[in-house]
C-alpha cells in the first residue's frame, strides 16, 4: 500500500512563498465554480462577466474606488495583527469615523475650507480611535478578549450610525436614509474625471508610513518583540499595556479614515450601513497580504475589483453575496495551502516506518 507522510521543508524559496498562495487562490475560484454550478448558474458566464467588468478603464477606476475603504480597513487590521491583536471592529470604527467627520462637516462652525478638511480628517481619526479605545483599555488592563469587544462594538456603532441616518441627520424630503451633501468646497480634488480622489494618495501614504514605522523605528521593533513574547518584552522594560492601547487606537484611527475617504472623497455624505462589511473584508485583505502594509494596498484593490464584479453579475441573477463567499473560500484555501509551504508530502519508502 502506498502511503504518504509529511516532512518539514528545511528552506522555503521566495518563489514558493508567492506561487503557493496564487495556486490556492485559483483552487478557491475552481471550488466556487463548482458551488455556482451546483446552484444552477453557469460558472463560465459568471466569471466571464466578472472579468469583462474589471478589464476596462471604467472597471479599473471603479475597482480603485471600491478598494479605497478596504485599504484603510485592511491596514487597520494588519496593524493590529502585528501585535496579535484581533481587531475585527474596523466596521464600527469606520462608522464612528464617518459620523465624526461628516458631523463636523455638516454642523461644525464655519471656517476656511482647507482648515475644515483638515479638522474633518482629524475628526475621522478621532472617531475611529475612540471606537477602538473602548476595546483597547479593557484588553490592555484586564486582558479581556479584544475579539469579542471589537465585534460587539460593531453592532453598537452601526446602530448609532443608522439611528442618525434614519433620524436627526436624515436629509429632508428624501426617501433614502442618508445625510445631505457636505459643501462642495470640502470635496477632495479628483484625478481628472475618474472619480478617484486624493484619498487614494492618503491611503498609499499611510501604507508607506506604517511600513516605515514597522521596519525602521523602535516602536516597530517593540511591536515585534511583544508579538513574539509579551513576557520577554516586559522583562526588557517595554510597556506592553501602553503598546496595546496605542496600537489598537492607531488601528482604529486608520479604520476611521475610511470614513473620511468616503465622506470627503466619494459620497460627500454619510448613508445608512455605510461600512458595508469593509471591516470583515479588511481581515481577509490583511491575511492575504501577509500583514505587509504595502501589499495590503494591492490586495485591497484586487478585492475591490472582486466586489464591483460581484455587483455586476447581479444582472445575471447571481446574488452579490457571491463576493463574500469567494473571499471566504480564498481565505480557507490559502490557509490550507500555507501548510504546504511549511511541509511537503513524501512517499513512504518500502521498509520505512510511517
Amino acid at each position: 500500500m502506498r502511503k504518504f507522510r509529511y516532512e518539514k521543508r528545511t528552506d522555503v524559496s521566495m518563489a514558493r512563498k508567492i506561487l503557493n498562495p496564487v495556486f490556492f487562490v485559483l483552487l478557491a475560484f475552481l471550488f466556487c465554480a463548482l458551488l455556482l454550478g451546483a446552484m444552477g448558474f453557469s460558472p463560465f458566464a459568471v466569471y466571464g462577466k466578472m472579468i469583462s467588468t474589471i478589464f476596462s478603464l471604467r472597471g479599473l477606476t471603479r475597482s480603485i474606488e471600491a478598494g479605497l475603504p478596504l485599504m484603510f480597513t485592511g491596514l487597520a487590521v494588519a496593524l493590529g495583527y502585528r501585535m496579535n491583536l484581533n481587531n475585527i471592529g474596523a466596521d464600527g470604527q469606520y462608522a464612528l469615523g464617518a459620523i465624526f467627520c461628516a458631523g463636523f462637516g455638516l454642523y461644525g462652525p464655519p471656517m476656511p475650507a482647507v482648515l475644515k478638511i483638515i479638522v474633518m480628517f482629524a475628526a475621522a481619526m478621532l472617531g475611529g480611535a475612540l471606537a477602538a479605545c473602548i476595546a483597547a483599555v479593557p484588553r490592555a488592563l484586564w486582558n479581556v478578549s479584544e475579539t469579542i469587544l471589537t465585534m460587539m462594538l460593531n453592532y453598537v456603532f452601526l446602530n448609532v450610525l443608522n439611528y442618525l441616518m434614519y433620524g436627526p441627520w436624515k436629509e429632508l424630503n428624501q426617501m433614502v436614509a442618508q445625510t445631505r451633501e457636505i459643501d462642495s468646497s470640502l470635496w477632495l480634488p479628483e484625478f481628472g474625471n475618474t472619480g478617484i480622489s486624493l484619498a487614494l494618495l492618503i491611503a498609499v501614504a499611510i501604507a508607506f508610513l506604517l511600513w516605515f514605522l514597522l521596519k525602521k523605528t523602535t516602536w516597530g521593533y517593540q511591536m515585534e518583540v511583544i508579538r513574539r513574547s509579551p513576557r520577554a518584552a516586559e522583562y526588557a522594560g517595554m510597556s506592553v499595556k501602553k503598546n496595546i492601547i496605542s496600537t489598537l487606537c492607531l488601528s482604529g484611527a486608520i479604520a476611521g479614515l475610511a470614513g473620511f475617504a468616503e465622506v470627503n472623497g466619494v459620497l460627500h455624505r454619510v448613508q445608512a450601513d455605510l461600512p458595508n462589511n469593509a471591516g470583515y473584508t479588511g481581515i481577509v485583505i490583511a491575511f492575504l497580504a501577509y500583514l505587509n502594509p504595502l501589499s495590503t494596498v494591492l490586495v485591497a484593490f484586487l478585492l475591490g475589483a472582486l466586489q464591483i464584479s460581484a455587483v455586476a453579475v447581479q444582472i445575471t441573477g447571481v446574488p452579490s453575496q457571491v463576493a463574500t463567499m469567494i473571499q471566504g473560500s480564498i481565505m480557507l484555501f490559502v490557509i490550507a495551502g500555507e501548510f504546504f509551504i511549511r511541509y511537503r508530502l513524501v512517499k513512504v519508502q518500502k521498509g520505512e516506518a510511517a
Partner: protein, 310 residues
C-alpha cells in the same frame, strides 16, 4: 408590572437564551477539547438558511433539521481539517470560516429571503406543568427545541464533570500530550468535538430561523453567534453558568423591546444596542483579569497539537 408583561418578557428571554445556548454549549465542548472556533456566527447563519430552505421547499421540519445537522457537520469537518490536521492558526481559520459561511448563506438563501415558510416549530404546552403561575407559560409553553435544551444542559454538565469521556475531554484541552502518551488519539477526539460543536451551532441557527423569528434574511442572526462565543468565556466554560448569561442577555433584549413600546419616542436602534452593551459590560466584569485572577480557559486552547513537539 402586570403578570402578562412579565410572562411575555420572560418567555422572550427563554427563547433568546436558547438561541444562543446551542452555539455556546457546542463551543464549550470544542474549546474544552482545545479548539476555538471564531466562526460561530457564520455557522449559525448556514444552519439558519439551510433549515429554512428545506422548510420552504420540502415543507418538512424533520428533513430540515437533518439537513442542518449535516451542514453543521460538514462545516465542522472543514474547520477541524484546517486547525487540527493542517495546524492552521485558529483565529485566522475562524475568520475564514466566518467569511465563507456568511457569504455562502447569503448566496444560497437569496431565493427564500423574505419568503414566508408557513412552517415553524410550534409551542407545545406540557399538560399540568404549564398551569404553574408565571413559570408555567414561561418554561412549559415552548417549542420542542427549547425542551431539548432543558435536557442538553444537565447532560452536558454531567458529561464534562462526572464521566470518564468527560475527564478525557478536559485533558484534551489541558494536556493533550499526556493523553497521547496514554494511548488516546488526540486528533480523532478533537475532530469529534469540533464537529459536535459545529452541529450544535448550526442547530442554534436553525432555531433562530424556524423556532424563534421564523424568517430568513441576509445576516439575520445579527450577532447571536458572537454572543454565544462571548457566553463561553463569560461562563468560564460551564454550560450551567452559560444558561444564566443567556437568560440575562435575553431579558435585557426583551425588556428593550417592551420599553420601546412604552416610549415610542426613543428610537429602536438605541434599544437594539442593549444586548451588545450588556455583553461588553458582563465580559469585562466576569473575565477581566483584576488582581491577577487565574483564567479558567483550557491550558491548550488555540494551540495545535503537534506530535513532533511532544
Amino acid at each position: 408590572m402586570s403578570s402578562t408583561l412579565l410572562i411575555s418578557i420572560l418567555s422572550m428571554a427563554v427563547l433568546y437564551a436558547v438561541s444562543v445556548l446551542y452555539g455556546a454549549v457546542g463551543e464549550i465542548f470544542a474549546e474544552k477539547a482545545g479548539v476555538m472556533n471564531l466562526g460561530l456566527e457564520g455557522i449559525m447563519l448556514m444552519g439558519a438558511v439551510s433549515g429554512y430552505l428545506v422548510a420552504v421547499n420540502q415543507k418538512n421540519l424533520g428533513l430540515a433539521m437533518l439537513t442542518v445537522v449535516l451542514v453543521g457537520a460538514v462545516l465542522g469537518l472543514i474547520f477541524a481539517f484546517l486547525t487540527i490536521t493542517l495546524q492552521a492558526d485558529q483565529t485566522v481559520a475562524g475568520m475564514a470560516m466566518l467569511t465563507f459561511s456568511t457569504g455562502m448563506s447569503g448566496f444560497i438563501g437569496k431565493s427564500v429571503s423574505g419568503v414566508n415558510a408557513n412552517l415553524a416549530f410550534e409551542a407545545i404546552s406540557i399538560p399540568g406543568l404549564c398551569r404553574i403561575p408565571i413559570l408555567g407559560p414561561v418554561l412549559f409553553q415552548q417549542n420542542i427545541l427549547v425542551y431539548l435544551m432543558y435536557f442538553i444542559i444537565p447532560l452536558s454538565v454531567f458529561y464534562i464533570n462526572h464521566t470518564r469521556p468527560g475527564m478525557i475531554l478536559r485533558a484534551l484541552g489541558e494536556n493533550p500530550a499526556a493523553l497521547d502518551s496514554a494511548g488516546y488519539n488526540v486528533f480523532a477526539l478533537r475532530y469529534a468535538y469540533v464537529v459536535f460543536g459545529s452541529v450544535m451551532t448550526a442547530v442554534g441557527g436553525a432555531f433562530v430561523s424556524l423556532a424563534y423569528t421564523n424568517f430568513w434574511s441576509d445576516g439575520m442572526t445579527s450577532g447571536k453567534g458572537w454572543i454565544a462565543f462571548a457566553l463561553v468565556v463569560f461562563s468560564s466554560w460551564n454550560p450551567l453558568t452559560a444558561v444564566f448569561g443567556g437568560l440575562l442577555f435575553g431579558a435585557i433584549s426583551a425588556i428593550g423591546v417592551d420599553i420601546q413600546t412604552l416610549f415610542p419616542a426613543i428610537p429602536s436602534q438605541i434599544f437594539a444596542t442593549l444586548p451588545y452593551i450588556a455583553t461588553i459590560i458582563a465580559l469585562v466584569f466576569t473575565t477581566g483579569n483584576f488582581r491577577n485572577r487565574r483564567s479558567a480557559a483550557p491550558a491548550a486552547l488555540t494551540i495545535p497539537y503537534d506530535r513532533e513537539k511532544r
